[in-house]
């Protein structure tokens, strides 16, 4: 019993995050260490933060989806019940969707971008780890405001500042360099497909994993994890396609990975390249349909 209590005590350790912030912005959270937050904020300067935030906030003047919710929200907090983070934290008001905006975007607007690196770190914590961008809050908002779009803009600011969870930033870097999630080279990809075909043919006679078949019905775009660490997924897809008699193919060139980690951190430039890569492969192979894993 004493042990259980000790464990409970350990789990329930809560401390005020970022005690240097203003009183109304201090929230209680368990401490989490992520080099993507802790190390990157050391590189930030007040000028850099202000310039970046204002560059993104100026989009308000040109983007209706950004502007309308800010000018409409009447702060009624009816969105709270929608949020799984809010519900699973015993209705802690700091987890409600409106509160997340109040702690991040609204505060940036109020201070015209003049915020501290500690504030940016807290924003990163909220925008990346306490919101899924699941859109449920929009279903509960009487005005149908796109709250997640606003959180997305916070993520955009954080991405431009480089304050992104380490793991996701690595995957984003991988996508910008190789168009795949997990640093898979073109040679690795082709090799994986070929040895998987060889191995599976031991069990399934004449099974094909056709690469670069022009004019096929379907082009399949897997997730990067499948050829990298979960090859049995590729095998299963191949078996299904073969048994179902579908005329299918996979591309040999980069642009076969349907994961878009860039989208999650609002790296719009890489995000577009990933999608473009898929469509370019489809056009090149003249396929009729693009099938993604999910």
């Amino acid at each position: 019993m004493a042990e259980v209590k000790a464990v409970e005590k350990e789990v329930k350790i809560e401390e005020v995050l970022e005690p240097s912030l203003d009183k109304e912005l201090r929230i209680k959270r368990k401490k989490v260490v992520d080099p993507g937050f802790d190390e990157t904020i050391k590189r930030l300067t007040p000028e850099k933060i202000e310039k970046t935030i204002n560059a993104v906030l100026n989009l308000r003047k040109t983007a209706a989806r950004f502007l309308a919710p800010l000018e409409t929200c009447i702060h009624c907090a009816l969105c709270s019940d929608a949020c799984q983070y809010y519900i699973s934290h015993d209705k802690d008001p700091t987890y409600s969707p409106a509160s997340k905006l109040r702690l991040t975007l609204w505060e940036m607007i109020r201070r015209k971008g003049k915020v501290s690196p500690e504030f940016i770190k807290q924003c990163a914590r909220i925008a990346f780890t306490e919101c899924n961008i699941c859109h449920r809050c929009s279903m509960y908002c009487p005005f149908g405001l796109d709250i997640t779009y606003q959180i997305g803009m916070v993520r955009r600011i954080l991405f431009l500042l480089g304050v992104v969870p380490h793991n996701i930033l690595d995957q984003d870097n991988s996508q910008s360099a190789t168009l795949t999630q997990l640093w898979i080279s073109q040679a690795d990809w082709i090799d994986t497909i070929q040895w998987l075909e060889d191995e599976t043919r031991l069990e399934y006679k004449n099974l094909r994993l056709p690469i670069e078949k022009e004019g096929a019905e379907v082009m399949w775009a897997p997730l990067g994890t499948e050829p990298k660490i979960a090859t049995y997924h590729v095998v299963r897809t191949a078996i299904i396609m073969n048994v179902a008699g579908i005329d299918w193919t996979v591309p040999s060139r980069d642009g076969w990975d349907s994961v878009n980690m860039a989208m999650f951190i609002r790296d719009f430039e890489t995000m577009q390249r990933v999608v473009l890569g898929l469509y370019e492969n489809c056009l090149r192979l003249k396929v009729k349909r693009l099938v993604l894993t999910e």
Partner: protein
């Protein structure tokens, strides 16, 4: 308006020119705000291609009927108060007998009016609605956390014309004429405030709701109520 030039006083000023100014700013400002938003939305590639009349109306309708959406069902108290409040807020000033008389005196037009007793009750509902929202802002932790000074100011702007109108009608607290001047000032403040503050949700509701309705109906193939 004419009265002000023949007999300039505070009363004739708030009754004449200020009403004109307030209505011009209210209507002009509203048109400007809505037009700006629509023009901005046209420039965004992902707004208008997804807009659909069917899904927009479906969504607006479900949120304009009490208890027709999941969130309205979950919060019956809030639903009843907010619907009663908003209906009374919009219709009391339009159909009030005294306001109708003013329109008739100035322009010779009039329309259906509320009986004085009904109007009294409706004004009370607005006042209690404001009080409910005020208490909610203090008591409910999730609302308190997102409450700013501006929220109280907006509540006051809404509360003032109805309180002063009520007091003026019953000739309470202050002499009738002074109370009437305060009432007209409060009403004009509210009209001017609507397009330029978050009271503008009156205008933007239709646009944001229909975009979300179209997005959920046409894009996610889901309901948004």
């Amino acid at each position: 308006m004419y009265e002000f030039f023949t007999n300039p006083s505070v009363y004739t000023f708030v009754r004449g020119p200020l009403v004109w100014i307030a209505f011009i700013i209210f209507i002009g400002g509203s048109i400007y705000k809505v037009r700006t938003l629509i023009l901005l939305a046209k420039k965004e590639k992902v707004v208008f291609p997804y807009m659909s009349l069917k899904y927009s109306l479906r969504s607006i309708l479900h949120w304009l009927i009490p208890f027709a959406s999941r969130n309205w069902k979950r919060r019956p108290m809030m639903t009843i108060v907010t619907f009663a409040f908003h209906i009374c807020l919009v219709f009391t000033p339009i159909f009030l007998l005294s306001h109708n008389t003013l329109w008739y005196e100035s322009w010779g037009i009039s329309w259906w009016t509320l009986s004085e007793g009904t109007a009294d009750v409706m004004a009370m509902i607005v006042l209690f609605g404001c009080l409910f929202f005020f208490i909610r802002r203090i008591v409910a932790p999730e609302v308190k956390f997102v409450t700013f000074a501006s929220d109280y100011i907006l509540l006051t702007i809404t509360f003032a014309p109805f309180l002063t109108g009520f007091l003026a009608y019953h000739e309470l607290l202050l002499p009738y004429k002074i109370m009437l001047i305060i009432h007209m000032l409060a009403g004009e403040t509210m009209l001017i405030a609507i397009p330029f503050t978050r009271l503008g949700h009156m205008l933007y509701f239709w646009l944001t709701r229909s975009f979300m309705g179209s997005q959920f109906g046409g894009w996610f193939q889901a309901r948004d109520w």
